[in-house]
Amino acid sequence: MTAVDETSPVVLPDDSTLGPEVQLDYPGYRSTRRRAPNRPLASLPEELHDAAGPVFGHETVGELDHDLTRQHDGEPLGERIIVTGRVLDEDGRPLAGALLELWQANAAGRYRHEVDAHPAPLDPNFSGAGRCLTDADGRYSFVTVRPGAYPWGNHENAWRPAHLHFSVFGRLFTQRLVTQMYFPGDPLFAYDPIFNAVRDPKARELLVARFDLETTQPEWALGFRWDIVLGRGGSGTTPLEQSP
């Protein structure tokens, strides 16, 4: 682990040799300092290389769970958006029946959570949680509102770029993923240590949705496309983030 240095830059220069791996002990993200593991990883147990995960049936998901704008009596405030895409493995094969869970701040940048002290309004018509299962083509779709950026205590004048949190269960045990989806062209990218903890700029691009006019519904909602690519199983990850 990198030595604790209160003056470390919040954003380090790119390092494309790291590929899709996020740097666990990224010094600009303060909470990593006491939480990022710093001992070498053991090898993935053999029996987990191709082990299947649990199957989540349709009973897991309610009819309106994918539509965060229809979970209350009224409509939430903000810019209505459609976020859609496919869950694929690294060989491009679609993953059907993958469970996606989504959570996010409201349009003002406030989470419906007791820990969130940002002085921005809550929206009585927005809980900020959704879920859905991918169809036979690996496709998912959510309707929601675009979340606001919000401040956080990581460093002076720190703001998170607008993002959606995603949790994904693939077909295999090792295809578990929790990540964040960002919106194209966000001016906060250059200042955000969480986004930049993925040191390869090509890998970071995979966290950014693209605007899609075809998905956009006239007179109703802007459309964004974002595919999620999971590993192909096996011991995929090399423990690059571990220093000796």
């Binding site: 990224y26 909470s31 300092r33 993935l44 029996e47 949190h165 949790s167 964040q180 690519v229 999971l230």
Partner: protein, 152 residues
């Protein structure tokens, strides 16, 4: 290229803890036992905004528990079948940019190849202790006594 991981952040309960999902045992199972523990950081402080997932890969069952402010989590489990019964465990937290994989083995059972490959101190980080009728398993994210995590 795979989609990179990002931290689960401090607000994951909105999306991932909408109902209790910490009971892996069948209701009324007389063999059910509580599995409890604490998630701790490199200074031994509790991690009060972590998320622990328990997977019985062979039995295809799964559960999750958030951690409370004292870092504690709890499950109701039945000992899985087979030699060296264990659960695979994914750990998520604010400050953890990718989830970590570990294992909890039941005490007083023969070791499997994974346990046998570790030295005694590391092996001890993966074996629960029987305490007052429950099983106790603490997870240390960092430091000399760090829990063994697996590449994944």
């Amino acid at each position: 290229m795979r989609t990179p991981s990002q931290t689960v952040g401090p607000y994951y309960t909105i999306g991932l803890c909408r109902r209790p999902e910490n009971e892996l045992a069948q209701p009324g199972d007389p063999g059910a036992t509580r599995l409890v523990g604490q998630l701790l950081d490199g200074e031994g402080h509790p991690v009060g905004d972590g998320l622990i997932e328990l997977w019985d890969v062979a039995g295809r069952s799964w559960g999750r528990s958030g951690t409370y402010t004292d870092g504690s989590f709890s499950f109701v489990v039945t000992k899985p079948d087979g030699e060296a019964p264990h659960f695979d465990v994914y750990v998520f937290a604010r400050g953890l940019l990718r989830h970590q994989l570990t294992r909890v083995y039941f005490p007083d059972e023969p070791a499997d190849a994974v346990l046998a490959s570790l030295d005694a101190a590391d092996r001890a980080t993966l074996v629960a202790q029987a305490v007052g009728g429950a099983l106790r398993f603490d997870i240390r994210l960092q430091g000399d006594r760090q829990t063994v995590f697996f590449a994944h």
